[in-house]
Amino acid sequence: MATLTPFQRALAAGRDRYNARYRQARRRDPAAFLAHLRDRVGPVVDAAGVEADPVPLTDVLVELSLQVGELDRAEAGFALLRELAPFAGVAPRRVPAAVLNALRHLADSPTGDPVAWSATVVELAARIPARDPDTLLAAGGVAAWRHGLARLRPSALARAAALRPDLLGIALGTTSTVDLSALAADPWASPAAAGRPRLQVVRRVGAFTGFGGAFRRPPLIHAAEGRWYATVDEQTWEITTDRFGHALRRVAEAPTGPATGDLTLRPGGRVVDGRDALDVPELATATSVAAVGATLAATTTFSHSIVFVARTTG
């Protein structure tokens, strides 16, 4: 008789319970779910090093599988979990849910890149012992910032300070020594070696609702208390943006605090900061302008995107 794999033993031990959870979840395609368990869940359990007690990890993965909705959407997540299986075995209640949730957040972000993040996390995992899932998740958070989740910036910078240099380099995609204070000071700075700062268009944020964006009309921009806000009619969004990505978050209303920047927009679309100038012709018809530090943002009649210009390296 063939030896049962850890996953098969866990299924046998909890057969009634898993069956009850399946029925209770009222999924409609038992064959697809069985295939999912066999092809995606089983390999994670069997690779996790949980031969002694595979039940906790199996419980979690079955439960998550019941929660994910369309199973095919979870394929990439379970494939990544297979790569991270030893970590899942050590922390079954944390790692699998964390990884699947992170992939969802990245996929839902306009600038998130879940595929690139997965590759980075696998690279990180190869250098972190499985008994240390905390470090993996912290480094994964920094990598998620780099791969498009701009809202993670403040906390990712804080976590980055505690990472080993080699892990930090992998997370931020550079082999150079990372100057975290430079990254903290300049939202557009590259983690790689710095060049001479110059004025440049650094990002365009927002799109027409008809193309999947947030704005039904070209927005107006303003800044308050160091933060960016876009408005369309009565609707207001807070914009978080930096070198790695951007995010829009609906807010009730924008605050009315002061905001000053070093850059100004001259007629004809010329952005100046006292030392340098950059012509951005599309800003010749700007409808609103705001500046924070060394960044200027402007909107125009003809676009649903907000143009960000900054003096930065890279």
């Binding site: 909705g69 944390r94 849910a97 992170a102 989740l149 976590r159």
Partner: protein
């Protein structure tokens, strides 16, 4: 909100479960890297927004009553304004439709026990969900179901102390030269925050004593080795409330139980839910949603938060007045302090026989005449804990009279022993109190409160005023003032001697006045001695 792809059993009532409560919902957390890994998927509730623990407790309650225990009994009633009622049948059975959020005692009381980590006895016939309810509490504490089941102690006539607590290691038994060298393999359940003893009245008497030590003092002892157990919520079950198990339950063990709750009957209108469960082989204890599971830290915190719920003076006074009713037995002693039911019991005399000889008081109006004992300090501590827990559960700023009234019958269920031969039980409408102890205790409290109001003690409480005056301290008090206060105490007692019968609350007040008198006398003696 239901997570995509899950069924109703994973549905937790949306917060707030009690709109308009005293404590607002927690502020949204600061955005953090941790948010990357949070929700919507999860198995430990980490993705859920941090809710106040009282809200989490209510969500647990509603999940249990909606999905786990079929107990459509709202016997813990609260009113938010007028509540309509009807009377049905020849006995004029009153059915009240509460206007406030009301609860099922069979779920609420075990849950409050979980929160305050005390000891709950679940009684009722076989197959009514007593054990299932206890197991759910273990799962709520975050233990895997199989661990809860394995840790549950099943009472049976052969259960030994070693079975219950642990066994000495065989190698040590041979090698050890001193008893202290013998290591004990302690049973794993001792370290759990939820402890379940099924059918505790089938445990042999000797083993009951070991259980008593564990329950009351929090430690286990085998071969001179001590195991300090953690603070736990205890659930004991018994098919027969009257101690009719295989073994008589020792009184000290019964006394350690803080609260008793009945598993009420199954309502046949809910058979459909049972059918669904059988057809789908659903076991609710296997489907407890992670959002309502309490970590060890949360369990600790919820207990601490409950203790901080204030008990206002007005409510405390009514509890004092109620508790004072029961201990007095005038004919049990000669010295004033010994005129109690406890004196009679210690002498082996039935308090009822002595009470029957008393003629001074109206034995129907006297609440104390309906019980064979008074209330112990332990019982009052339990009352206060559960009243605070209920106020916390109901998101109240402080304990209300309704909270106190709701928990009293369950806490005093086995602690206040009725004198079934009391003429009060022969009064029309009072006969059901011989069998319905919950209603009996509740009406005792209602009558005590009515008497408290009749005496207008919230406004005119001379003993309370004297105690408050004393609480300000004796520092700097001159002899003249002390003498004046002594005169007021003596005057008050003299006034009572003229025109007041000795009821329980008067007895307690008289003893309190004697206490004050003694303190002032001693202080005056010190003043006179002082150089």
């Amino acid at each position: 909100m239901l997570v995509e792809g899950t069924g109703p059993y994973q549905h937790v009532s949306q917060a707030p479960t009690l709109p308009g409560g005293a404590h607002p919902a927690a502020e949204a957390e600061e955005f953090d890297v941790a948010a990357l890994y949070a929700g919507p998927l999860g198995t430990d509730g980490a993705g859920a927004r941090a809710l106040p623990l009282d809200e989490k407790l209510r969500q647990a309650y509603f999940w249990i009553v909606n999905h786990a225990i079929i107990s459509p009994h709202y016997d813990v009633e609260f009113a938010e304004g007028p509540s309509p009622s009807v009377t049905l049948g020849d006995s004029k059975a009153r059915l009240t439709l509460p206007s406030g959020q009301s609860y099922s005692s069979f779920v609420l009381i075990p849950l409050l026990t979980f929160a305050v980590r005390r000891r709950c006895l679940l009684v009722g016939g076989p197959g009514r969900g007593k054990t299932a309810s206890a197991i759910l509490m273990g799962v709520l504490a975050g233990y895997p179901l199989r661990e809860v089941r394995r840790a549950m102690q099943h009472g049976h006539p052969q259960l030994t102390i070693a079975d219950l607590l642990g066994t000495p290691l065989p190698a040590d038994l041979i090698k050890a030269e001193r008893i202290g060298d013998i290591d004990i393999a302690w049973r794993s359940w001792l370290s759990m925050r939820v402890k379940i003893v099924d059918e505790y009245n089938r445990i042999p008497t000797r083993t009951q004593s070991a259980l008593l030590t564990l329950m009351s003092d929090g430690y286990a002892e085998v071969f001179d080795q001590i195991y300090e157990a953690t603070d736990s919520a205890w659930y004991l079950t018994a098919n027969d409330d009257g101690g009719g198990g295989t073994y008589q339950v020792i009184e000290a063990l019964r006394d350690r139980i803080d609260v008793v709750v009945h598993a009420l009957q199954f309502n046949s209108r809910f058979l459909g839910e049972l059918v669904t469960r059988i057809e789908q082989r659903l076991r609710p204890e296997e489907l407890v949603p992670p959002e309502i599971v309490f970590s060890a830290a949360e369990h600790e915190r919820v207990s601490a938060e409950i203790l901080r719920v204030p008990l206002p003076v007005g409510v405390r006074r009514r509890l004092e007045f109620f508790a004072a009713q029961f201990e007095l037995l005038e004919s049990a002693g000669e010295q004033f302090e010994y005129r109690t039911k406890d004196t009679a019991k210690l002498a082996g005399v039935d308090p009822h026989l002595l009470a029957a000889t008393e003629t001074g008081r109206d034995r129907i109006a006297d609440l104390g005449a309906q019980s064979l004992n008074g209330l112990s300090v332990r019982a009052l501590q339990s009352v206060i804990s559960y009243a605070k827990a209920l106020a916390y559960f109901r998101d109240r700023e402080e304990v209300g009279l309704d909270d106190l009234r709701a928990v009293l019958p369950f806490v005093l269920h086995d602690k206040l022993v009725p004198d079934d031969d009391s003429p009060a039980f022969d009064e029309p409408g009072h006969r059901p109190y011989r069998t319905d102890r919950v209603s009996w205790i509740r009406q005792l409290f209602d009558r005590a409160c009515a008497e408290y109001d009749r005496l207008d003690l919230d406004v005119d409480d001379p003993v309370g005023a004297l105690l408050a005056e004393f609480d300000h301290g004796l520092d700097g008090l001159g002899e003249a003032e002390v003498t004046a206060r002594l005169a007021r105490i003596e005057g008050l007692l003299a006034e009572w001697a003229r025109d007041r019968k000795l009821y329980g609350h008067v007895y307690d007040d008289a003893l309190a006045l004697k206490y004050l008198h003694q303190r002032y006398v001693n202080y005056r003696a010190w003043l006179r001695w002082r150089p």
